[in-house]
């Protein structure tokens, strides 16, 4: 038992160091590719890093004393969720801790009482509600295919779990767009300029608080891509290459979707995410349970 907790602590430290670096690079690539898709040159690869460094140097000003604490909690729990995942820990626990981090982020926005931030927070809550069933089905599907929630079990699996859970995988890709806050599902806040809510959930966040949000976002992206890669890992060491390639391809697909679809209304977001969850997730789980 003690060892298990030590692994999680080590995993969290490793994740806290590596994920921001990888996530920052990923964000840079994202901006580069998006620019190319829009016929622009785009900023340099390290632009996201320069942005965050500048934010960290800004004056310490905020609308209240609590917002920053909540955001820090959100960041810490994102790192913990990543740590649980990369140390081969319990996938469901990782999912729950991500939800906790999302809750703190939502509370940070609500605490400002800015109408724009509040609407952004309400939409973020809706988004969590929209993707949560599918994310739970994803974890359940992994458990049923693998016989354990422990991610470490993957490394001695005889075959990648994608063979049993491809419908769940497709469903998960659908809600991944919400989790990555990509258009058409970027209701709560968007990296694009065309946002009707000022800056949505982050409206009142500035300086180092906003920098933390950015870093959190990078880490989340890495964690979610880790969940994608997980479907393609089995006992063969070479499978890691395949898994990383798939994760990158999925991210490219998300960038393409981001640049080609207009934002939808919340009704469509909720309805489509839940229908996808019940059809792809429900059917896949039924198949795993009864056949």
């Amino acid at each position: 038992m003690g060892m298990n907790i030590i692994y999680i602590i080590l995993g969290t430290l490793a994740f806290a160091i590596c994920a921001p670096v990888l996530g920052c690079l990923l964000a840079g690539v994202d901006r580069k590719i998006s620019a190319r898709m829009q016929g622009r040159v785009g900023p340099v690869l390290l632009q996201p890093y320069y942005d965050v460094r500048k934010l960290l140097g800004k004056e310490n000003a905020s609308v209240n004393a609590t917002e920053g604490v909540y955001v820090t909690c959100a960041l810490v729990f994102t790192l913990l969720a990543g740590g649980i995942f990369v140390s081969g820990g319990n996938l469901l626990m990782s999912v729950f801790v991500v939800a906790l981090s999302a809750l703190f982020f939502i509370m940070a926005a609500y605490s400002t009482r800015s109408p724009y931030a509040e609407i952004g927070a309400a939409r973020e809550t809706l988004q969590v509600m929209a993707y949560e069933p599918m994310v739970l089905f994803m974890a359940v599907g992994v458990y049923m295919a693998l016989g354990s929630f422990n991610v470490a079990t993957l490394t001695w699996a005889a075959a990648p779990i994608i063979t049993d859970t491809w419908a769940i995988f497709v469903g998960f890709l659908f809600v991944l767009t919400i989790k990555l806050r990509k258009s058409p599902f970027d209701l709560s806040y968007s990296h694009h300029a065309h946002q009707e809510l000022v800056k949505g959930i982050t409206t009142e966040m500035s300086g180092s608080t906003l920098a933390k949000v950015e870093v959190m976002h990078w880490c989340e992206n890495i964690l979610f891509l880790g969940w994608v890669a997980m479907f393609f890992v089995w006992s063969n060491p070479l499978s890691w290459v395949l898994a990383i390639a798939v994760a990158l391809a999925v991210y490219f697909l998300e960038i393409w979707i981001d640049n080609n679809f207009a934002r939808v209304k919340w009704q469509l977001l909720l309805k489509s995410a839940w229908i996808v969850a019940i059809v792809l997730g429900g059917v896949n789980i039924a198949v795993l349970a009864y056949w």
Binding site: M1, S62, I106, S111, L126
Partner: protein, 652 residues
């Protein structure tokens, strides 16, 4: 044994005393002393019988006569109110039930003498702690609350003696429910809780209160009738009045007890306010808040799920029985519980009345407990017990907070709780703790839900997995937006916490400590209380002599426990001052007043921005989805009864 007697009889003595006392200070003393005595006795009971399961040879003809006497009193009470308020159904059901009970006791069960009247096991100990500590805490809270209540309703007659007497009578009846092995005693106590809650719901005697009280009594009398029907079957076919013996028979031959188990499960479902009977619990919120807290957390509905959890081993064995019919009660309980969880969680989204949100959340969580009991595997029962425990402490905390907030801000609407974080800083933090305990990792309820999910997956309950996933998503929505409302901070509005009674703070603090204590010590409770119980319960059937392992590994439980402690510290110590320069929020103009959200727009006119939470009535409104859930679960129950009637030997 003496402690059990004390726990059942002492609240009765207190109730009798409180009924006579009209002086406020004397009542205060009696309530506080009695509550302390009950808390001490329930802790002493746990200390004395920690980890044991014991049965006590205790039978007395006198008690049987007392039970008959109580039946007469109960019936007389319902008939009196039924005639006075012209409610034919209540009168008819009460009379039918009375005749049935008398016939059962004197014609059928007359020769059966059950020697083992009282028993206890770790589950009853957990229940005793919940009833003893949470229940008495609520009684103490009621002291201050009812003072305010009486002051606000000064035109009405002071009926507080009756109120407090009923509260303690309720506790006594609940202790009787969890300790009785004699089914007739159990049934009598069961009916006493029904009548107590009837009287408490109708306390204000307004038209609405009486209407809701009668709805409660009619639904629970239906459950009571089903209970009597089960007793007839058990007496005639099993020739026993012992709950333990009946459970054993059920475990060895679940196909022979399909009808009585269906009837008992139905009684449990009505008492646990499962769809389609959830409306009685929603109606119960017209009562003063301590009543709601008592009904929702430690008594009444918990009696319903307690009965269902007791039946869990039969549900477990029925799944592997040769007869398909044997699984009927289990399927009924699973489906009704699952549907109730998903629908009531979704319904809570559309509510802005805090007590109504709490009521829907209670019904939903009871649904989850019900579904776990129906699944019946050791892992599911582990989850069910923890759901009962955490729900009791967190929900009572929330009700007490809402009650106090209501008296200070004059509203129980969540929209009016805007800025509560500053207006009532201590209370808002307690409320936030309660809300977090209800729905988010790493707090207890979510850990229990996690175990629930694992048990559903292990037993391949696909329908339940789906209902659980969507219900949990809805749960996140309605709690998170309430939490957000509480978290708002702007300027320094006047503190409205002044004048909160000390008794209220004591009880709220007690509940908060209990909630946090249970979250942090969850791994210990699991390994020292719940796991031995499951071993005792399932050792011979599901576990086949092997040790029980929970669906969640102990290292994960410890991580959750640690994280809960950290969040608690952040909530109560970390949210303070900052060195940052304070700036105004963005309001599409120059801010004038941040807490009022007023700003000067581009034409120099003062404007006020407003923001409300999101209730999505068009998707989750009561008239949109409540009928679906009601019809689905009603159909399930009707079909289950029809099919289990077929199983009656000799019918076909």
């Amino acid at each position: 044994m003496a402690i059990i007697g004390f726990l059942i009889l002492f609240p009765l003595v207190s109730a009798a005393a409180l009924l006579c006392i009209r002086h406020n200070l004397a009542r205060r003393v009696v309530v506080c002393v009695s509550a302390a005595a009950i808390v001490a006795a329930s802790i002493a009971l746990v200390a004395a019988y920690f980890g044991y399961a014991a049965a006590f040879e205790f039978s007395s003809v006198a008690i049987d006569y007392v039970c008959t006497g109580l039946s007469v009193v109960i019936t007389a009470c319902i008939v009196y109110y039924g005639i006075r308020y012209r409610n034919v159904w209540a009168v008819m059901l009460a009379l039918v039930q009375f005749v049935a009970v008398i016939v059962l006791e004197y014609l059928f069960a007359h020769d059966i003498h059950e020697k083992i009247g009282i028993y206890l096991d770790p589950l009853t100990l957990v229940m005793a702690l919940i009833i003893g500590i949470v229940g008495s805490g609520i009684c103490v809270y009621a002291l201050g609350y009812m003072d305010d209540f009486q002051a606000q309703h000064s035109g009405q007659k002071d009926r507080r003696p009756v109120f407090f007497a009923l509260m303690f009578l309720f506790l006594s009846a609940m202790f009787c429910v969890v300790f009785s092995n004699n089914l007739l005693w159990l049934f009598t106590a069961w009916e006493v809780t029904t009548v107590c809650s009837f009287l408490l719901i109708g306390y204000t005697k307004t038209e609405e209160a009486m209407k809701n009280a009668f709805r409660q009594i009619i639904m629970n009398l239906l459950g009571g009738l089903a209970f009597v029907a089960a007793l007839f079957f058990i007496v005639v076919n099993c020739k026993t009045l012992s709950f333990a013996v009946f459970l054993q028979m059920g475990v060895s031959r679940p196909d022979l007890v399909v009808l009585p188990v269906t009837c008992l499960a139905f009684a449990g479902l009505t008492k646990a306010a499962q769809m389609p009977f959830h409306t009685w619990l929603l109606g119960a919120m017209v009562a003063p808040t301590p009543t709601s807290a008592l009904l929702h957390s430690s008594t009444m509905v918990k009696a319903g799920v307690f009965l269902l959890i007791k039946l869990a081993p039969i549900f477990y064995c029925s799944a592997s029985s040769a007869s398909i019919l044997a699984a009927i009660p289990s399927l009924m309980v699973i489906l009704v519980g699952g549907v109730t969880f998903a629908f009531c969680s979704a319904l809570a989204i559309s509510q802005s009345n805090a007590k109504r949100v709490l009521a829907y959340s209670t019904v939903a969580n009871l649904g989850l407990i019900t579904a776990c009991a129906g699944v019946g595997t050791p892992e599911a029962v582990w989850a069910a017990i923890f759901l009962v425990l955490f729900h009791a402490v967190a929900k009572s905390l929330l009700f007490l907070c809402v009650g106090t907030a209501e008296h200070h801000i004059g509203s129980r609407d969540i929209e009016d709780m805007d800025l509560l974080f500053e207006r009532m800083p201590r209370l808002a933090r307690f409320m936030m703790l309660g809300i977090m305990c209800m729905f988010i990792a790493p707090f207890g309820m979510l850990i229990a839900k996690w175990a629930t999910l694992v048990s559903f997956v292990d037993t391949h309950q696909v329908a339940l997995i789906i209902l659980l996933a969507f219900g949990s998503a809805a749960t996140f929505m309605f709690w998170a937006k309430w939490l957000g409302k509480l978290a708002g901070v702007a300027g320094l509005p006047p503190n409205q916490e002044e004048g909160t009674h000390r008794s209220e703070w004591v009880s709220i603090g007690l509940m908060a400590m209990l909630a946090l204590g249970c979250c942090v010590t969850l791994p210990l409770i699991s390994s020292y209380v719940v796991e031995p119980y499951l071993h005792y319960l399932f050792g011979g059937i599901a576990l086949r002599g092997e040790a029980f392992t929970a669906g969640i590994s102990s290292s994960n439980l410890w991580i959750a426990s640690l994280a809960a402690a950290i969040i608690f510290i952040v909530l109560f110590a970390g949210l303070g001052t900052t060195k940052a320069r304070k700036v105004d929020v963005y309001l599409a103009g120059v801010s004038v007043d941040n807490s009022g959200r007023t700003f000067r727009d581009s034409l120099s006119a003062e404007r006020t921005a407003t923001a409300r939470n999101w209730y999505m009535e068009g998707v989750f409104g009561e008239e949109m989805i409540a009928p679906i859930g009601t019809i689905c679960s009603a159909l399930v129950i009707i079909i289950a009864f029809a099919v289990s009637a077929i199983s009656l030997p000799g019918l076909i």
